[in-house]
Symmetry: C2
Subunit: 336 residues, 2 copies
């Protein structure tokens, strides 16, 4: 890569910040409610304030939020595949299937030029993961530059970039509806609980994301550099009773809360309910995360494992207006 | 109190250990399942083993457990008042109202001579409470001696005895069905999650409770002494929006996880979602607990407050068989 070259990228005109995609992940729920309130107040006070990007605040799953549950019928954050979104609409569909189509109409359509430029979807985890941006690409310079900016602005917060190794065709989460997008995952926080420190971290980081977008749209050049990217390799389930399907062990106390500390072959992995230690039988050290996430018991995931690699980012800046128009015309003509 | 005197108390012939009274408090769920499994194995291996007390293992709310929720229709652990238990049975009743009567038939009837001698009901909390025994009496020598024994056996575990200042007529929880009873509450653990360290603490403490009962029934004299008892004074709700009823603040970061550290007038109590600090306006220092317990958001409880006092325990031992028979006859004749 020529690090001196500046990559010019389209302007981010429309940004969406979403909370309550999982109705019991309360930092995002209360933060989006608070931002909506603040936005209303701001509108009254500063009617003529310059708005470099339109920011849409979305409460994604109001029915689940009302019941303080992850979801009502099915996990909303798995309903945004192209296949699911393009299926016929029926009143008998699970609530979240209907809601995902509404959100796709509001923020998408996914994969189209009309989609919002950036989706930041707010989540919490019971795992000790600090702040993670989770995205489908390891070469989305917008997402990676935002991550690098957050790292520099909040040096005391443990922060990682997780790359889900899933094709864009199979991408399933709300953030995949935007041209760029990521889940912002912060923990540890029990579901159904809001902890001030986690809420405040989320509040500050969303503010920094919006700051970054403003700087970027205003023509700031962001220097190239390097970012550690954790790419998912596989998930591991709990040991289970073959007859009942019930779990027979918990995460080993020596692994609990050690998200992103390398797990080596023969390291303790689980402790059975009768007290036995089960060890990691993998052949290479990998980085565990989502260790003992509450919502993943039903998905058969006790932890995820990743490989870490260093990704080089180019210098970037926004395209000039002229350049952008030319590109848009080019894009439009390709669509004909 | 004459500390040299030995108080003679009835034998504890029947003990119940209950888990899953709240279906998403997983340490108790998995521990009772494990004990049931071990008991079956033990039965096969040691058919003629001496059994000083019969121990009944109970999974209290199987339907809620299956759904990994606190309850299905209503909180089971509020369904054991005399009034609720003596009402007519209807198929239209909430599931937990029906189940509470089943459990009362199995372990009670509450307040009768047929009730089990001791109920140990296993719970988890998202609050940083360590291990607590929660009971309705501050002079139940059995419960207090068990607590003191646990403290000595597990000196590394932060441990408190909470006295709910509620009349026995109004007592509402499953443990109130036994002649003696307590909830064993251990945290912090998110609901819907099992953490090895919390599970193991619960496993060891249940073992110590059963050991204590065996020693007691065998005639061991337990020396008198002193125990700190936290008696509930009041509960405090979150600040709420008067229109929507939504909470407008979280527990202040300086109070979060400081269960049982004295809260003084003007100490920080809440942090609003806009960042303001709200302070404790009480007139005396009190001891907070159940700080930010997940299940209490819907009950309007952000934390509970207690006063601490030292309670003197007498020396106790079990009544001799003869003495017990005389007592039972006396008791029976009182019942006529």
């Amino acid at each position: 890569m020529e690090v001196d070259k500046v990559v010019h990228l389209p302007r981010l005109s429309r940004v969406a910040v979403c909370g309550g995609t999982h109705g019991n992940e309360l930092s995002g729920v209360y933060l989006v409610k608070e931002l909506l309130k603040a936005k209303n107040v701001m509108k009254e006070d500063n009617d003529d304030e310059e708005r470099p990007a339109s920011v849409l605040m979305v409460l994604s799953n109001p029915w689940a939020m009302q019941q303080c549950r992850r979801y009502v019928n099915t996990d909303l954050n798995r309903c945004f595949t192209h296949a699911a979104l393009s299926g016929p609409v029926s009143k008998k569909d699970p609530y979240e299937m209907i809601r995902s189509k509404e959100l796709n109409a509001l923020l998408g359509p996914k994969g189209s030029p009309e989609a919002v430029d950036l989706v930041c979807d707010l989540h919490n985890t019971t795992s000790n993961m600090g702040l993670c941006l989770i995205a489908y690409s390891d070469c989305d310079w917008i997402c990676l530059h935002i991550f690098r900016y957050l790292q520099r602005q909040m040096p005391d917060i443990p922060m990682r970039y997780i790359h889900l190794d899933v094709s864009s065709k199979e991408s399933y989460s709300l953030d995949s509806v935007g041209k760029h997008g990521f889940a912002m995952e912060i923990g540890p926080q029990p579901h159904g609980v809001v902890r001030s420190n986690i809420y405040t971290t989320m509040k500050h980081s969303v503010q920094h994301v919006l700051d970054w977008v403003r700087f970027y749209n205003s023509g700031t050049v962001f220097e190239g550099g390097f970012v550690d990217v954790y790419t998912t390799v596989k998930n591991m389930d709990y040991p289970r009773d073959s007859e009942t399907g019930n779990i027979t062990a918990a995460i080993h106390p020596q692994l609990q809360d050690r998200d992103f500390c390398p797990l080596h072959p023969e390291d303790p992995l689980f402790q059975t309910f009768s007290g036995e230690t089960l060890r990691y039988k993998g052949k290479e050290p990998l980085y565990p995360f989502f260790i003992n996430e509450c919502a993943y018991y039903e998905k058969g995931i006790a932890l995820s494992l990743a490989r870490k690699r260093l990704v080089a980012l180019p210098r970037i800046r926004v395209q000039a207006e002229q350049e952008q128009q030319a590109n848009e015309q080019g894009f439009a003509s390709e669509e004909e």
